[in-house]
Symmetry: C2
Subunit: 334 residues, 2 copies
């Protein structure tokens, strides 16, 4: 929205564009205090703002990081972005944002387009961290978040999914439940789901594949009704057994509760429940929900700080996993 160029400033001030450029880049040792002051005045009065596109082209660096989000409607995402954004602006970085809408193809396109934009680095909350697209990128300028790839190609910030679930479910076991179930979106290849299930198995001693209740993704109405039927059968046949559920995130938790409400089953009377994730609306549930609180904003902060640090060093170390601790909140829901 402006039209002045460095050339104009040079002419107006009477100095060469090189000096102006030096001024713009803070190379004050290359000029007298007088010219510095003069330039300051001219630039201030004209309201001149250097064209960042040109600057980026010349510098091969654009102080921009690309952020690829798997699903922005996931409430987990907001705090992460908040953290990233905070750190980035602190360090004078801009962020260009893309959303994959849970679609692997879109994700690939997003990554490609970020690469085309030649961002300095990327933070990726991947739909599929195992996608071949990532083989074309390097750990020097990328940080992954949340989901991790089987083969760790990049520094990755995760929460201690397995451990946290194991702890929580151990509490449930100790509370004397005869039967426990892990409720989840389809496990697929998603590391967070698998790790959480893993923690569940370790706490309960069940074998892989057992006591697993899968909730279909949003929008699949028929499949969802099957899930409801499954819950109904389970509850109808449990007899006097004490039965409990661990849901792998808040959305799944909502699904389970809805299914339970169909027959007016209530926790903790008819069943016990605990969930991964904590959101503010859980405060008003009565009884309150036992849940695993993860510091999502911190994930964003760490990812951004790590990335910016790497961007400075340019030393390529081996990809590492960074674990953000969680907090177990015990209430009366089981």
């Amino acid at each position: 929205m402006e039209k002045l160029t460095i050339n104009d400033i040079a002419k107006i001030s009477g100095y060469s564009i090189a000096t102006v450029s030096n001024y713009l880049n803070g190379n004050y040792q290359k000029m007298s205090q007088k010219t510095r002051d003069h330039l300051a005045k001219v630039i201030d009065q004209t309201g001149y703002r250097p064209n960042s596109t040109a600057r980026n082209l010349a510098k091969h660096e654009n102080k921009t990081i690309g952020v690829s989000i798997s699903d922005i409607t996931n409430p987990f995402t907001s705090p992460v972005m908040s953290g990233i954004s905070e750190v980035c602006t602190q360090h004078g970085y801009k962020m260009i944002f893309t959303n994959a809408d849970n679609d692997q193809k879109k994700e690939v396109n997003n990554i490609l387009s970020l690469r085309t934009e030649s961002v300095s680095g990327m933070i990726v909350d991947a739909v599929d961290p195992n996608s071949p697209i990532y083989k074309s990128l390097t750990n020097e300028a990328l940080v992954m978040v949340d989901r991790q790839a089987k083969e760790l190609l990049f520094d990755t910030i995760v929460t201690d999914n397995r451990q946290a679930v194991k702890e929580m479910v151990t509490h449930m076991v100790q509370a004397g439940y005869d039967e426990l179930y892990f409720v989840t979106w389809p496990l697929e290849e998603v590391s967070t789901r698998q790790m959480r299930y893993q923690g569940f198995l370790e706490a309960t001693g069940y074998a892989l594949g057992e006591h697993l209740l899968t909730v279909p993704h949003l929008g699949q109405k028929e499949a969802y009704q099957q899930f409801e039927a499954q819950i109904e059968t389970l509850m109808a046949q449990k007899g006097t057994k004490k039965i409990g559920f661990f849901t792998m995130n808040a959305r799944v938790f909502l699904r389970l509760l809805k299914a339970m409400q169909l027959k007016a089953y209530q926790y903790p009377r008819d069943y016990g429940v605990a969930t991964y994730e904590e959101f503010d609306w859980m405060q008003i549930m009565r009884p309150e929900i036992s849940c695993i609180r993860q510091d999502s904003k911190k994930i964003g902060v760490m990812a951004a700080e790590l990335l910016l640090a790497k961007l400075l060093d340019k030393k390529s170390a081996l990809p590492q996993k960074y674990i953000v601790p969680t907090e177990i909140i015990l209430k009366q829901s089981f």
Copy 2:
């Protein structure tokens, strides 16, 4: 993270860079089908991607819009961004994202920095749409969202706050409530809050300033306790009167419910309640909550479409207000 240039492609393919450039820009009429096919193959095989920075510089256009969000942790924000993002990628636009964290100063900085980036246009969810910073921008390349300025400087996408609240509260009046209260964050100069209060007044016939319960912003513990005390008094003294509350958004709703739960007051037995905004967690509240559903994603979509259209036309029309309709959801909460 790539090194191929248009020059490389020219050499590899045996054509000149001009032809390659023409190919990249879809000027196919300027070349034979044969060279076109050949180029396609080379580019595909090499995985070449033109450097967008250079392209932007040459073209004086960067296909980037800036998005300034007032508070990304507000759950209203995600769907809006989702909508914006969808439209943008559809049209080959990138979005650079900034978050003001509800802080006017940060917002000013964000706007300035977006201007420096010389974005093609901006979509602004403003903390303070009346800030003088906006006087330096033009309606040709900006769309506002949600909150509107007193003096309409830009096209603005809003929901029909006043009307929707009026309708809902009218239902409450008809349900025979003796006393109704509007529960809100501090009204301040925020248009959405004021419009909603306005609708409330029109439905109830109360005078300006009456029946207004203000919830302090998050983090102000003492003030919040005052609010709780206020609710307690209200409920204790209501006698046999039928009393109802309309909360101006979901977060305020949560605050009210928490306050009510301190003395174990339940809706709709002890009080009636309805709220602006609908979120998925409301589905599991029993009884269900009467609420006003707004299509937030559509707000984002409209904003982006409008902006991109303006960017094409470059005709400056008078700023206009676009209203996204809402839906009244009646349940048993009052």
